[in-house]
Symmetry: C2
Subunit: 197 residues, 2 copies
Amino acid sequence: MNTERSAAPQGTAMAVRVDAQRNAARVLAAARRAVASAGLDVSYHEIAREAGVGVGTVYRRYPERDQLMAAVLSDILTELIDTAHQALDCDDAWEGFSLLFTSLALRTAQNAGLSGSLDQHGGPAVAEQRHELLDLTRRVIERAQDQGRLRRDLAWQEVLRLTGAPAVQGCVLGLEPDPAHGHHLVLTVLLDGLQTG
Amino acid sequence: MNTERSAAPQGTAMAVRVDAQRNAARVLAAARRAVASAGLDVSYHEIAREAGVGVGTVYRRYPERDQLMAAVLSDILTELIDTAHQALDCDDAWEGFSLLFTSLALRTAQNAGLSGSLDQHGGPAVAEQRHELLDLTRRVIERAQDQGRLRRDLAWQEVLRLTGAPAVQGCVLGLEPDPAHGHHLVLTVLLDGLQTG
DNA sequence: CATAAGTGGACAGCATCTGTCCGCTTCCTC
DNA sequence: GAGGAAGCGGACAGATGCTGTCCACTTATG
């Protein structure tokens, strides 16, 4: 994702070194994993360890924590926007809807830590992406409603909010042998509850 | 909950002082709130602050962290067991089921931090409570299935697992103005998806 | 090969948590 | 009341872990 290939070397300036690019990619990927498993407060050391680089490298790339989080969020949004386009390309509106709904839910579940706090952050570029995804999602949902496949008693924002549901399977009782199965189960029942009778 | 009234003073021994009892209750309540909002790793200082007592008091009451967490869990289980009994008392099996399901879901949502790690801990007393709740829950679910009101294609454990669904509403996108509304929404749709016909 | 870009990780400074200890307060008994 | 034990609060030391910097070293490039 977001592999920033530099432009050709201009004048005598040196091109961006390939090892630097590779490390940048590693850091971003590690950050995604780290944020997913340890929340927004992951330490830079943790990310560096996960990426197999030194802390200095992470700090050089993202001097401000906001920048790092924005990069992570942007990376996720890019993937989701892509999925949303696929969803709109489906002839069957319900199929498209469940595709997007499932992706959103799983992505949200994997990044439960990434909630609220980043809403306002991330700068205009990320805001733009978020807006785009939101718009696509609205269209996917409304199209499914128009085709009579999706309940009409919920506003599209409400349907969207449901994607946050399977975020955590933590239960007071002690049964979660397989979170993946749990997510799948929740999605199945939610979709059953959303489908038109 | 669990207010441990001491037996009458035996011999010349002094009865448990009332201020000590009051503080014990405060600490437990504070611990529940703190665990709910900050997870299992809340510091003792945080709990003490929340309870309005000194750290020493908390440490004296619960020298081991496990003991504190077991107390919290036990307190929650007690409430839920009570609700489960109410559910079994309902003539309408579906009504009973949704009562218990909703309670379990909300309680789980409020205590998302209290997941996994405590499964094995808590000692035999808590294990006993958990077992009791599990058994009651199974009966509530199977009764609803027997009355033909609840989908039969899910095992009772699967239905139970669904209660963990609304645990977190954190979304990659930025909309969670009202978590309570979110929970309610999820429950509504889940129940719709679970109902027969 | 020369050189600059990039790297790793030690390190100082800071924040926070744990667990203890002891002078003081509160409650109970007589 | 008065005496004394039980309980309390919170300062404090020690441990841990995080942030952010800095510089000797490595590596890609021309």
